[in-house]
Amino acid sequence: MNTIVFRVAVIAVVVAVALAGYFASQPEPRAEPAFAITAECDIASVPLGPGTVAFTVTNPANKPRRIIGCYAQCQAAGCMDAKSNEQITIAPGETIEYQCDYDVYKPGPFELKLDVFLEDNGIRTVTLTVRGVGVAAGGKTDAPKP
């Protein structure tokens, strides 16, 4: 009886050590390459009021990844927000145009920002920036003179 118990125990020890070795040797998940994103855009002179701007986002990873959301911000000169209010999945190797709506309220130079949340080895926050000069109906920019 004791011999049987001893043999079972020895086999169990061997199996346990083998399993422990297997799990210990499993590699950590490999980090995927980061999204490639054109985060800044100059749109030169634009009339006051609403408009649309697109940012290029490429997923170089081997698996689909998502744009999970965004945080719209307003400055004194205007506001910018994403056109879509849903998650956007980008296929492996695919490049998309991430469309944003902006609204310029004041003539003169402006800089509008939007925080975008990307599924990028965890959630990474990227700030998209659009710069330009708002032009009133009569061509007035009120831009600061050099």
Partner: protein, 330 residues
């Protein structure tokens, strides 16, 4: 609290003394006992000018360091989540059957005292302290204990009454020196002294530069030493100085709140709990890896094996005892 009691009988003065001594302390005790109360509120609201009734549901979950609030508009079938854990704060939105959209995310290192206060304010505004609604005064959710202890509060009367055989105390007060933009001018509290002085009904009167308001809430409670609300009906009437027609709203709701024996794990307050990845750089303490358990099991098996082997050998060894024996003689 300060306060003069004009025209009250000596008994009323005694009652006021008792009320001032017992009620604020009982409310503080109630809040402490129910600080981890959590559950859901389901209700509906209708108001002047609102085409459809608002039907909503709010779920609150808390532990020692986290809060999560899920607010569902059952008319529009949309939900929002506001959550706070030791590493970050986030805000999600979802449309009809759609996946969660991350709307705001602030990691703890981004907090300064101002935006931490703002986050706290928003969590509270959307229902983060629903469990203690009964010890706060609608509409500004001022703690009743603070109101009673405030030097700005003056008692008009404190009298005892009965309702369905239950002893109640009615407290009429005014706050003539309140300088807030929406000024609480006074109110009436109908309290149950035998049940932590919890209000059966509160009425608050407000006034601002465009009109006056009357805000009432009636509570029903669960049984228990520190009874949580079971049901509440509230109503608001605003009378503009420039419009003879008042604006009215009424709300009714059922609470299903309790203090759980085991508080929810911190993982339930993370983005992962909503099927989203964690923010870059945020690492939660992982459970012990499986290989550690296998190694521990191996050590235990080895010890058991050695023990049995030792026992087996001990049993097999013949015992030797000295005996005297001589050659056999025939």
């Amino acid at each position: 609290m300060s306060g003069s009691v004009s025209g009250q009988s000596p008994n009323s003065k005694e009652l006021q003394k008792r009320f001032e001594a017992e009620a604020p302390a009982a409310w503080d005790e109630f809040r402490q006992a129910n600080r981890y109360a959590q559950g859901t509120w389901k209700g509906e609201t209708e108001a002047t000018g609102l085409a459809d009734k608002y039907r909503g549901e709010t779920e609150l979950k808390v532990n020692e360091t986290c809060r999560v609030l899920r607010v569902t508009d059952r008319t529009a079938n949309t939900s929002e989540v506001f959550a706070q854990n030791p590493k970050y704060w986030f805000h999600l939105k979802s449309g009809k059957g759609k996946a969660w959209i991350l709307f705001e995310l602030y990691q703890t290192e981004q907090f300064n005292s101002d935006n931490a206060k703002e986050i706290d304010r928003r969590l509270n505004e959307y229902g983060g302290r629903m469990a203690e609604n009964s010890v706060r005064l609608n509409p500004d959710e001022q703690l009743l204990s603070e109101l009673i202890r405030s030097p700005q509060t003056r008692f008009i009367s404190v009298i005892s009454s009965q309702q369905d055989g239950v002893e109640l105390v009615e407290v009429k007060f005014e706050t003539p020196e309140n300088t807030n933009p929406r000024k609480l001018t006074g109110g009436v509290l109908l309290l149950q002294p035998t049940r932590n002085w919890l209000p059966v009904k509160t009425t608050a009167f407000t006034r601002n530069r465009v009109g006056t308001g009357t805000h009432t809430v009636q509570f029903e409670y669960l049984p228990g030493q520190y009874p949580l609300p079971r049901h509440a009906d509230s109503g608001e009437v605003y009378q503009l100085f420039t419009d003879p027609n008042p604006w009215k709203s009424s709300s009714t709701g059922d609470y299903n709140f309790r203090v759980p024996e085991r508080l929810p794990d911190t993982q339930e307050f993370t983005l992962t709990a909503f099927g989203l990845p964690e923010p870059v750089g945020v690492v939660w303490v992982k459970p012990t890896p499986r290989y550690v358990w296998f190694l521990a099991a191996a050590v235990v098996f080895a010890l058991v094996a050695i023990t049995f082997r030792w026992l087996a050998r001990r049993r097999e060894t013949p015992s030797i005892s000295p005996t005297l024996s001589g050659p056999a003689t025939t």
